[in-house]
Protein backbone atom coordinates (compact mmCIF):
# COMPACT_ATOMS: atom_id res chain seq x y z
CA UNK A 1 0.00 0.00 0.00
CA UNK A 2 2.82 2.37 0.86
CA UNK A 3 4.34 1.53 -2.49
CA UNK A 4 1.33 2.73 -4.40
CA UNK A 5 1.26 5.95 -2.36
CA UNK A 6 4.89 6.64 -3.21
CA UNK A 7 4.11 6.03 -6.87
CA UNK A 8 1.14 8.41 -6.62
CA UNK A 9 3.37 11.19 -5.26
CA UNK A 10 5.79 10.53 -8.08
CA UNK A 11 2.98 10.72 -10.64
CA UNK A 12 1.59 13.98 -9.27
CA UNK A 13 5.02 15.62 -9.32
CA UNK A 14 5.68 14.26 -12.81
CA UNK A 15 2.42 15.84 -14.01
CA UNK A 16 3.49 19.18 -12.56
CA UNK A 17 6.90 18.79 -14.19
CA UNK A 18 5.26 18.36 -17.57
CA UNK A 19 3.08 21.43 -17.13
CA UNK A 20 6.22 23.50 -16.86
CA UNK A 21 7.51 22.05 -20.09
CA UNK A 22 4.71 23.90 -21.87
CA UNK A 23 3.98 26.93 -19.74
CA UNK A 24 6.60 29.37 -18.65
CA UNK A 25 5.79 30.15 -15.01
CA UNK A 26 8.21 31.09 -12.29
CA UNK A 27 9.07 27.74 -10.71
CA UNK A 28 10.34 29.30 -7.49
CA UNK A 29 7.06 31.13 -6.92
CA UNK A 30 5.01 28.02 -7.54
CA UNK A 31 7.28 25.62 -5.66
CA UNK A 32 5.29 25.88 -2.44
CA UNK A 33 1.82 25.20 -3.94
CA UNK A 34 3.23 22.32 -6.00
CA UNK A 35 4.72 20.71 -2.91
CA UNK A 36 1.59 21.13 -0.81
CA UNK A 37 -0.82 19.96 -3.49
CA UNK A 38 1.31 16.82 -3.79
CA UNK A 39 1.33 16.38 0.00
CA UNK A 40 -2.40 16.96 0.18
CA UNK A 41 -3.49 14.47 -2.45
CA UNK A 42 -1.01 11.72 -1.64
CA UNK A 43 -1.73 12.19 2.08
CA UNK A 44 -5.45 11.90 1.45
CA UNK A 45 -5.00 8.41 0.04
CA UNK A 46 -3.02 7.50 3.14
CA UNK A 47 -5.88 8.77 5.32
CA UNK A 48 -8.67 6.99 3.48
CA UNK A 49 -8.09 3.41 4.71
CA UNK A 50 -7.34 4.17 8.39
CA UNK A 51 -10.81 3.38 9.68
CA UNK A 52 -12.33 2.11 6.45
CA UNK A 53 -10.17 -1.01 6.54
CA UNK A 54 -11.21 -1.75 10.13
CA UNK A 55 -14.82 -1.74 8.97
CA UNK A 56 -14.16 -3.83 5.85
CA UNK A 57 -12.06 -6.49 7.56
CA UNK A 58 -14.39 -6.68 10.55
CA UNK A 59 -11.65 -5.76 13.00
CA UNK A 60 -13.56 -2.76 14.27
CA UNK A 61 -15.42 -4.90 16.81
CA UNK A 62 -12.10 -6.19 18.11
CA UNK A 63 -10.86 -2.65 18.57
CA UNK A 64 -14.07 -1.66 20.33
CA UNK A 65 -13.85 -4.65 22.67
CA UNK A 66 -10.24 -3.98 23.60
CA UNK A 67 -9.97 -2.49 27.09
CA UNK A 68 -8.69 0.88 25.80
CA UNK A 69 -10.43 4.21 25.39
CA UNK A 70 -11.45 5.59 22.00
CA UNK A 71 -8.91 8.37 22.35
CA UNK A 72 -6.12 5.80 22.71
CA UNK A 73 -7.23 4.29 19.39
CA UNK A 74 -7.18 7.78 17.93
CA UNK A 75 -3.66 8.50 19.17
CA UNK A 76 -2.38 5.12 17.99
CA UNK A 77 -3.77 5.70 14.55
CA UNK A 78 -2.57 9.29 14.60
CA UNK A 79 1.04 8.26 15.31
CA UNK A 80 1.05 5.49 12.72
CA UNK A 81 -0.43 7.68 9.96
CA UNK A 82 1.79 10.58 10.94
CA UNK A 83 4.90 8.47 10.35
CA UNK A 84 3.59 7.17 7.01
CA UNK A 85 2.51 10.59 5.73
CA UNK A 86 5.70 12.27 6.92
CA UNK A 87 7.71 9.61 5.07
CA UNK A 88 5.61 10.19 1.96
CA UNK A 89 6.11 13.95 2.20
CA UNK A 90 9.87 13.63 2.62
CA UNK A 91 9.98 11.35 -0.42
CA UNK A 92 7.94 13.89 -2.41
CA UNK A 93 10.30 16.66 -1.34
CA UNK A 94 13.32 14.71 -2.56
CA UNK A 95 11.60 13.98 -5.88
CA UNK A 96 10.60 17.62 -6.12
CA UNK A 97 14.19 18.82 -5.88
CA UNK A 98 15.24 16.19 -8.40
CA UNK A 99 12.58 17.25 -10.92
CA UNK A 100 12.70 21.00 -10.46
CA UNK A 101 16.13 22.57 -10.48
CA UNK A 102 15.58 24.91 -7.52
CA UNK A 103 18.16 26.80 -5.50
CA UNK A 104 18.22 25.03 -2.12
CA UNK A 105 16.22 26.98 0.49
CA UNK A 106 16.88 26.71 4.23
CA UNK A 107 16.29 22.97 4.55
CA UNK A 108 15.91 22.95 8.36
CA UNK A 109 13.10 25.48 8.14
CA UNK A 110 11.46 23.69 5.22
CA UNK A 111 11.51 20.35 7.04
CA UNK A 112 10.23 22.04 10.19
CA UNK A 113 7.22 23.46 8.35
CA UNK A 114 6.57 20.11 6.67
CA UNK A 115 6.60 18.31 10.04
CA UNK A 116 4.31 20.90 11.66
CA UNK A 117 1.91 20.95 8.71
CA UNK A 118 1.81 17.15 8.62
CA UNK A 119 0.86 17.00 12.31
CA UNK A 120 -2.18 19.22 11.72
CA UNK A 121 -3.08 17.42 8.50
CA UNK A 122 -2.94 13.99 10.16
CA UNK A 123 -4.71 15.07 13.34
CA UNK A 124 -7.76 16.43 11.57
CA UNK A 125 -7.54 13.92 8.70
CA UNK A 126 -7.77 11.05 11.18
CA UNK A 127 -10.98 12.38 12.64
CA UNK A 128 -12.53 13.03 9.22
CA UNK A 129 -11.42 9.59 8.06
CA UNK A 130 -13.28 8.10 11.04
CA UNK A 131 -16.36 10.08 10.02
CA UNK A 132 -16.21 9.11 6.36
CA UNK A 133 -15.74 5.40 7.19
CA UNK A 134 -19.37 5.46 8.37
CA UNK A 135 -20.69 6.87 5.11
CA UNK A 136 -21.72 5.34 1.83
CA UNK A 137 -19.31 6.39 -0.95
CA UNK A 138 -16.65 6.95 1.69
CA UNK A 139 -13.92 7.28 -0.95
CA UNK A 140 -15.58 10.37 -2.39
CA UNK A 141 -16.76 11.75 0.91
CA UNK A 142 -13.30 11.93 2.48
CA UNK A 143 -11.98 14.70 0.18
CA UNK A 144 -15.39 16.40 0.19
CA UNK A 145 -15.31 16.70 3.98
CA UNK A 146 -11.58 17.26 4.25
CA UNK A 147 -11.02 20.05 1.75
CA UNK A 148 -13.22 22.83 3.17
CA UNK A 149 -11.91 22.48 6.71
CA UNK A 150 -8.27 21.62 6.05
CA UNK A 151 -7.43 23.68 2.99
CA UNK A 152 -8.29 27.07 4.47
CA UNK A 153 -6.56 26.47 7.78
CA UNK A 154 -3.40 24.42 8.06
CA UNK A 155 -2.66 23.95 4.35
CA UNK A 156 -3.09 27.63 3.50
CA UNK A 157 -0.79 28.72 6.32
CA UNK A 158 1.81 26.08 5.44
CA UNK A 159 1.75 27.09 1.76
CA UNK A 160 2.34 30.69 2.75
CA UNK A 161 5.20 29.79 5.11
CA UNK A 162 6.82 27.48 2.54
CA UNK A 163 6.50 30.23 -0.06
CA UNK A 164 8.43 32.56 2.23
CA UNK A 165 11.12 29.91 2.78
CA UNK A 166 11.63 29.55 -0.98
CA UNK A 167 11.73 33.33 -1.09
CA UNK A 168 14.75 33.25 1.24
CA UNK A 169 13.06 33.97 4.58
CA UNK A 170 14.82 33.29 7.89
CA UNK A 171 13.31 31.97 11.11
CA UNK A 172 12.43 35.42 12.44
CA UNK A 173 10.25 36.21 9.39
CA UNK A 174 8.31 33.01 9.85
CA UNK A 175 7.54 33.25 13.55
CA UNK A 176 3.91 34.29 12.96
CA UNK A 177 3.24 31.50 10.51
CA UNK A 178 4.90 28.90 12.71
CA UNK A 179 2.89 30.03 15.73
CA UNK A 180 -0.32 29.81 13.72
CA UNK A 181 0.45 26.30 12.43
CA UNK A 182 1.36 25.20 15.96
CA UNK A 183 -1.95 26.60 17.21
CA UNK A 184 -3.81 24.63 14.50
CA UNK A 185 -1.92 21.47 15.46
CA UNK A 186 -2.89 21.83 19.09
CA UNK A 187 -6.53 22.62 18.30
CA UNK A 188 -6.87 19.74 15.83
CA UNK A 189 -5.21 17.17 18.10
CA UNK A 190 -7.39 18.36 20.99
CA UNK A 191 -10.59 18.23 18.94
CA UNK A 192 -9.68 14.75 17.68
CA UNK A 193 -9.06 13.62 21.25
CA UNK A 194 -12.38 15.06 22.46
CA UNK A 195 -14.62 14.10 19.54
CA UNK A 196 -13.44 10.62 18.57
CA UNK A 197 -15.57 9.12 21.37
CA UNK A 198 -18.74 10.26 19.63
CA UNK A 199 -17.71 8.83 16.27
CA UNK A 200 -16.57 5.30 17.00
CA UNK A 201 -18.98 4.48 19.82
CA UNK A 202 -21.64 1.99 18.84
Amino acid sequence: MINSMLILSLMILASFRFIFKFIDFSETELASPILWITFFFSGMFALAPIYQREVEQGTKEGLMLAPISASSIYFGKFLATFIIILGLNLFSTVVFFAFFAQPMPDMVLLLGIIVLGTIGFTALGNLISAISANLSQSQVMLPVLLIPILLFTVIMTSVEATFQIFDGAVLADLSNGIKLILAFDIIFVASGYLMIDYIIEE
Binding site: P148, T153, S191
Partner: protein
Protein backbone atom coordinates in the same frame (compact mmCIF):
# COMPACT_ATOMS: atom_id res chain seq x y z
CA UNK B 1 -54.39 23.09 13.72
CA UNK B 2 -51.79 23.02 16.38
CA UNK B 3 -50.32 26.09 17.98
CA UNK B 4 -47.06 25.52 16.10
CA UNK B 5 -48.85 25.47 12.74
CA UNK B 6 -50.56 28.75 13.50
CA UNK B 7 -47.24 30.27 14.54
CA UNK B 8 -45.64 29.05 11.28
CA UNK B 9 -48.41 30.64 9.23
CA UNK B 10 -48.08 33.90 11.15
CA UNK B 11 -44.33 33.91 10.51
CA UNK B 12 -44.75 33.29 6.79
CA UNK B 13 -47.51 35.92 6.46
CA UNK B 14 -45.39 38.46 8.32
CA UNK B 15 -42.47 37.59 6.08
CA UNK B 16 -44.58 37.97 2.91
CA UNK B 17 -45.97 41.32 4.02
CA UNK B 18 -42.53 42.60 5.00
CA UNK B 19 -40.94 41.27 1.79
CA UNK B 20 -43.42 43.16 -0.39
CA UNK B 21 -42.99 46.28 1.73
CA UNK B 22 -39.25 45.81 1.51
CA UNK B 23 -39.35 45.43 -2.26
CA UNK B 24 -41.41 48.61 -2.55
CA UNK B 25 -39.02 50.43 -0.25
CA UNK B 26 -35.91 49.11 -2.00
CA UNK B 27 -37.02 49.97 -5.51
CA UNK B 28 -39.19 53.07 -5.11
CA UNK B 29 -38.86 54.61 -1.69
CA UNK B 30 -35.13 54.51 -0.96
CA UNK B 31 -33.10 57.09 -2.88
CA UNK B 32 -30.55 56.07 -5.49
CA UNK B 33 -27.07 55.77 -4.04
CA UNK B 34 -24.76 58.73 -4.79
CA UNK B 35 -21.78 56.80 -6.07
CA UNK B 36 -23.01 53.27 -6.80
CA UNK B 37 -26.27 54.13 -8.52
CA UNK B 38 -29.19 51.73 -8.91
CA UNK B 39 -26.98 48.65 -8.49
CA UNK B 40 -26.84 49.42 -4.79
CA UNK B 41 -30.55 48.53 -4.42
CA UNK B 42 -29.58 44.84 -4.36
CA UNK B 43 -27.81 45.59 -1.07
CA UNK B 44 -30.96 45.39 1.10
CA UNK B 45 -31.70 41.78 0.29
CA UNK B 46 -28.04 40.87 0.00
CA UNK B 47 -27.36 41.88 3.59
CA UNK B 48 -30.60 40.24 4.71
CA UNK B 49 -29.70 36.87 3.16
CA UNK B 50 -26.13 37.03 4.49
CA UNK B 51 -27.47 37.74 7.98
CA UNK B 52 -29.94 34.87 7.80
CA UNK B 53 -27.24 32.44 6.62
CA UNK B 54 -24.97 33.36 9.53
CA UNK B 55 -27.91 33.02 11.92
CA UNK B 56 -28.82 29.64 10.44
CA UNK B 57 -25.27 28.28 10.71
CA UNK B 58 -25.10 29.56 14.28
CA UNK B 59 -28.29 27.62 15.05
CA UNK B 60 -26.70 24.53 13.46
CA UNK B 61 -23.73 24.85 15.80
CA UNK B 62 -26.06 25.27 18.76
CA UNK B 63 -28.15 22.27 17.71
CA UNK B 64 -25.03 20.12 17.24
CA UNK B 65 -23.66 21.04 20.67
CA UNK B 66 -27.02 20.40 22.34
CA UNK B 67 -27.35 17.06 20.56
CA UNK B 68 -23.99 15.80 21.80
CA UNK B 69 -24.89 16.97 25.29
CA UNK B 70 -28.42 15.61 25.51
CA UNK B 71 -28.64 12.86 22.84
CA UNK B 72 -32.08 14.20 21.91
CA UNK B 73 -32.92 13.71 18.19
CA UNK B 74 -34.91 16.95 18.27
CA UNK B 75 -31.65 18.93 18.26
CA UNK B 76 -30.20 16.89 15.41
CA UNK B 77 -33.25 17.72 13.30
CA UNK B 78 -32.93 21.39 14.26
CA UNK B 79 -29.25 21.46 13.27
CA UNK B 80 -29.85 19.76 9.94
CA UNK B 81 -32.90 21.85 8.97
CA UNK B 82 -31.12 25.05 9.84
CA UNK B 83 -28.01 24.08 7.83
CA UNK B 84 -30.09 23.35 4.76
CA UNK B 85 -31.87 26.71 4.90
CA UNK B 86 -28.55 28.40 5.68
CA UNK B 87 -26.94 27.03 2.52
CA UNK B 88 -29.85 28.34 0.41
CA UNK B 89 -29.60 31.83 1.91
CA UNK B 90 -25.81 31.76 1.71
CA UNK B 91 -26.05 30.94 -2.01
CA UNK B 92 -28.48 33.83 -2.42
CA UNK B 93 -26.09 36.15 -0.58
CA UNK B 94 -23.17 35.04 -2.76
CA UNK B 95 -25.12 35.48 -6.01
CA UNK B 96 -26.57 38.88 -5.11
CA UNK B 97 -23.16 39.95 -3.81
CA UNK B 98 -21.47 38.88 -7.04
CA UNK B 99 -24.03 40.83 -9.12
CA UNK B 100 -23.51 43.89 -6.98
CA UNK B 101 -19.73 43.51 -7.16
CA UNK B 102 -19.85 43.29 -10.96
CA UNK B 103 -21.69 46.60 -11.05
CA UNK B 104 -19.45 48.40 -8.57
CA UNK B 105 -16.00 46.83 -8.73
CA UNK B 106 -16.27 45.51 -12.30
CA UNK B 107 -15.61 41.90 -11.27
CA UNK B 108 -17.84 39.21 -9.77
CA UNK B 109 -15.51 38.19 -7.00
CA UNK B 110 -12.46 39.53 -5.18
CA UNK B 111 -10.45 36.77 -3.56
CA UNK B 112 -8.46 39.07 -1.30
CA UNK B 113 -11.49 40.33 0.56
CA UNK B 114 -11.92 38.82 4.00
CA UNK B 115 -15.73 38.81 4.19
CA UNK B 116 -16.08 37.22 0.77
CA UNK B 117 -13.48 34.62 1.64
CA UNK B 118 -15.10 33.75 4.97
CA UNK B 119 -18.54 33.44 3.39
CA UNK B 120 -17.07 31.13 0.74
CA UNK B 121 -15.47 28.93 3.43
CA UNK B 122 -18.76 28.79 5.38
CA UNK B 123 -20.64 27.89 2.21
CA UNK B 124 -18.22 25.06 1.34
CA UNK B 125 -18.19 23.69 4.90
CA UNK B 126 -21.96 23.48 5.09
CA UNK B 127 -22.31 22.04 1.59
CA UNK B 128 -19.96 19.30 2.81
CA UNK B 129 -22.17 18.97 5.91
CA UNK B 130 -25.24 18.40 3.71
CA UNK B 131 -23.31 15.88 1.57
CA UNK B 132 -22.40 14.03 4.76
CA UNK B 133 -26.04 13.91 5.81
CA UNK B 134 -27.23 12.59 2.48
CA UNK B 135 -24.56 9.86 2.43
CA UNK B 136 -25.35 8.22 5.73
CA UNK B 137 -28.23 6.19 7.06
CA UNK B 138 -30.69 7.90 9.38
CA UNK B 139 -30.24 7.22 13.05
CA UNK B 140 -28.15 7.95 16.10
CA UNK B 141 -24.84 7.33 14.29
CA UNK B 142 -25.64 9.92 11.62
CA UNK B 143 -26.76 12.40 14.25
CA UNK B 144 -23.49 11.97 16.14
CA UNK B 145 -21.09 12.23 13.20
CA UNK B 146 -22.90 15.16 11.64
CA UNK B 147 -22.92 16.97 14.99
CA UNK B 148 -19.16 16.41 15.27
CA UNK B 149 -18.61 17.65 11.72
CA UNK B 150 -20.88 20.64 12.29
CA UNK B 151 -18.83 21.64 15.32
CA UNK B 152 -15.46 21.12 13.61
CA UNK B 153 -16.71 22.98 10.54
CA UNK B 154 -17.78 25.92 12.60
CA UNK B 155 -14.53 25.80 14.57
CA UNK B 156 -12.63 26.20 11.30
CA UNK B 157 -14.28 29.54 10.56
CA UNK B 158 -12.31 31.60 13.11
CA UNK B 159 -9.23 29.50 12.28
CA UNK B 160 -9.36 30.27 8.58
CA UNK B 161 -10.06 33.87 9.54
CA UNK B 162 -6.70 33.82 11.32
CA UNK B 163 -5.04 31.97 8.45
CA UNK B 164 -6.15 34.50 5.89
CA UNK B 165 -4.06 37.40 7.00
CA UNK B 166 -4.39 39.25 3.74
CA UNK B 167 -6.58 42.01 5.02
CA UNK B 168 -7.46 44.36 2.20
CA UNK B 169 -10.78 46.07 2.59
CA UNK B 170 -12.77 46.14 -0.61
CA UNK B 171 -16.07 45.15 0.94
CA UNK B 172 -18.11 48.18 1.97
CA UNK B 173 -18.41 48.18 5.76
CA UNK B 174 -22.08 48.75 6.41
CA UNK B 175 -22.03 49.64 10.08
CA UNK B 176 -19.30 52.26 9.88
CA UNK B 177 -20.85 54.10 6.96
CA UNK B 178 -24.32 54.27 8.50
CA UNK B 179 -23.95 57.91 9.43
CA UNK B 180 -22.29 58.88 6.16
CA UNK B 181 -23.34 57.45 2.83
CA UNK B 182 -26.29 55.39 4.12
CA UNK B 183 -29.33 57.61 4.48
CA UNK B 184 -32.11 57.12 7.03
CA UNK B 185 -34.56 55.73 4.46
CA UNK B 186 -31.91 53.26 3.34
CA UNK B 187 -31.42 52.05 6.91
CA UNK B 188 -35.18 51.66 7.31
CA UNK B 189 -35.37 49.65 4.09
CA UNK B 190 -32.50 47.47 5.24
CA UNK B 191 -34.15 46.80 8.59
CA UNK B 192 -37.42 45.87 6.84
CA UNK B 193 -35.59 43.44 4.51
CA UNK B 194 -33.68 41.88 7.40
CA UNK B 195 -36.86 41.34 9.41
CA UNK B 196 -38.65 39.95 6.34
CA UNK B 197 -35.94 37.36 5.76
CA UNK B 198 -35.60 36.50 9.45
CA UNK B 199 -39.32 35.73 9.63
CA UNK B 200 -39.02 33.76 6.41
CA UNK B 201 -36.17 31.76 7.95
CA UNK B 202 -38.12 31.05 11.12
CA UNK B 203 -41.19 30.02 9.12
CA UNK B 204 -39.25 27.66 6.86
CA UNK B 205 -37.31 26.29 9.84
CA UNK B 206 -40.54 25.36 11.63
CA UNK B 207 -41.97 23.72 8.52
CA UNK B 208 -38.74 21.88 7.84
CA UNK B 209 -38.37 20.53 11.40
CA UNK B 210 -42.01 19.39 11.31
CA UNK B 211 -41.36 17.63 8.02
CA UNK B 212 -38.27 15.88 9.37
CA UNK B 213 -40.12 14.76 12.51
CA UNK B 214 -42.93 13.37 10.36
CA UNK B 215 -40.35 11.58 8.19
CA UNK B 216 -38.88 9.95 11.25
CA UNK B 217 -42.30 8.85 12.50
CA UNK B 218 -43.01 7.38 9.08
CA UNK B 219 -39.72 5.43 9.23
CA UNK B 220 -40.71 4.04 12.63
CA UNK B 221 -44.13 2.98 11.36
CA UNK B 222 -42.49 1.29 8.37
CA UNK B 223 -40.16 -0.54 10.73
CA UNK B 224 -43.08 -1.74 12.81
CA UNK B 225 -44.94 -3.00 9.76
CA UNK B 226 -41.78 -4.74 8.58
CA UNK B 227 -41.42 -6.40 11.97
CA UNK B 228 -45.03 -7.60 11.85
CA UNK B 229 -44.56 -9.05 8.35
CA UNK B 230 -41.28 -10.69 9.23
Amino acid sequence: MTKKNILTIIMLLASAALTFTGLYMAFLWAPTHDTMGDVQRIFYFHVASAWVSYLAFGITLLGSLLYLKTNNMKYDILAYSSAEIGVVFCTAAIITGALWAKGVWGVFWIWDDMKLFMTMVLWLVFIAYLALRSNSDPGKARARISAVFGIIGFLCIPLSFAANRIWTQFHPTVIASEGGSLQTTMVQTLVTAVFAFTFLYLGILMMKTDLEITKEELEEIKQEIGDLDG
